[in-house]
Symmetry: C2
Subunit: 278 residues, 2 copies
Amino acid sequence: MSSVYWDGRRFVGKEEIRISPDDRGYYFGDGVYEVFRVYGGRLYEPKAHFDRLVRTADGLRLKLPLSVEAIEENLTRLIAHNRLSEGTVYMQITRGAAPRSHPFPQEAEPVVLAYCNEVPRPAASMEAGIKAITVPDIRWLRCDYKTLNLLPNVLAKQEALDAGAQDAILHRDGTVTECSASNIMIVKDGAVVTHPADNWILHGVTRGVVLRLARASEIETIERAFTVEELLNADEAFITGTTVEVTPVVAVDGQAIDNGSPGPVTRRLQREFAATIG
Amino acid sequence: MSSVYWDGRRFVGKEEIRISPDDRGYYFGDGVYEVFRVYGGRLYEPKAHFDRLVRTADGLRLKLPLSVEAIEENLTRLIAHNRLSEGTVYMQITRGAAPRSHPFPQEAEPVVLAYCNEVPRPAASMEAGIKAITVPDIRWLRCDYKTLNLLPNVLAKQEALDAGAQDAILHRDGTVTECSASNIMIVKDGAVVTHPADNWILHGVTRGVVLRLARASEIETIERAFTVEELLNADEAFITGTTVEVTPVVAVDGQAIDNGSPGPVTRRLQREFAATIG
């Protein structure tokens, strides 16, 4: 973990961070967050992350305490302070501290928490792929907002680990939505299929990059809901996310996807993605 | 707000409370809570609250750091320290602090936060009733767990206030579930009707008390789902909750319930409830 934090005003040591017990993030999960990827000391796809941050904050009617430009500048300084080359920046912004009451407080200043982590690219799992289980998607109906209400994601991830898998693929009554903290795509007859970017899934930044790369590579992309059965009968499956990048899914619920090895479209997209990192 | 807090170990001043930025309550809303009513310096219906606390903690696989008996003893001491006669005790327990990662941490100690508030009985709204609006229920599917993932409740409550109402009545595709922080009951042809205590609603302590009081008063009670239309055409409607007690709903979406005045069954149940306070 990084030693220098950014609290929205200053760069301080972690031990100087003071979270109020009255922080609405603590009482209600009333806040937004982003996990940025850092490659070569630089934020990857910052605009897409900031667009999503603004969209979530608008949805929650949470007024960001700084402009996006100022936030980006400070996160860049945070990376420099921590001499981070390859890793992540975690940032969350809550509605601030106020005596506990559901309505928005009249006077509360948003609370920013940001820090870096050194995180290597997930070479092993990108090479071998992961096993996943399917779990009912019991989340709220604004999964497109990236908020601190993450308990169902936590429970799904833990359920996967307990089952000896690496992640949980969520489905609503048999319709696959996404994973506990990443999006999922399948390949069928050469086309990449993934759930539309509506309120049932988070609009992943890596999801967007991969769809763009697929189109540029003249791979057909189809944004439509698909079922667990289609997933089990897919030619290939992979997840996309800020830290998992493009990771193959080689088995679901104990059943191999195709021959149980990462497929050629997945491999192609991994290479295309790696090329964007520079 | 009370001056003495309980942090699970000691009774301390609020200024001594230190929440870690790594607290899973802050990152994920990964915690449980209860709001207890205090009348005459004593916890009201403590067993029902503790049963629910244990049930939620079990559902989240969050091991409580103390026995229910020890928690109750400490909350009683907290009330005494604060010389509270009429008010509430707020208590939340999170899974503890650990570097941010979705799975349950191997080593983290649950973090307790508990304090008192002086809160008078809501005499004015119990007398006059409140106005409410209907809002789609977009929450997750384990509303029976009392967790810190409360963002949809916050947004619904704020929407109600913005509309000039006092609370939001939630519905899933026209089926009324509950309110932003209370349960709702209607009266039709002399019978009290309320949503069954399943995963779509919080199993309110006051809800349980009121159903019991109705039965003891030979008022028919029916636990079944009802629609927004049935609500609008009800003879009476009221909400139940730890701080709202039994509060009439006299208008919904700008439409009066019956003649727009609290009805006789509601009044009867208010009296019966007041008698249990002692």
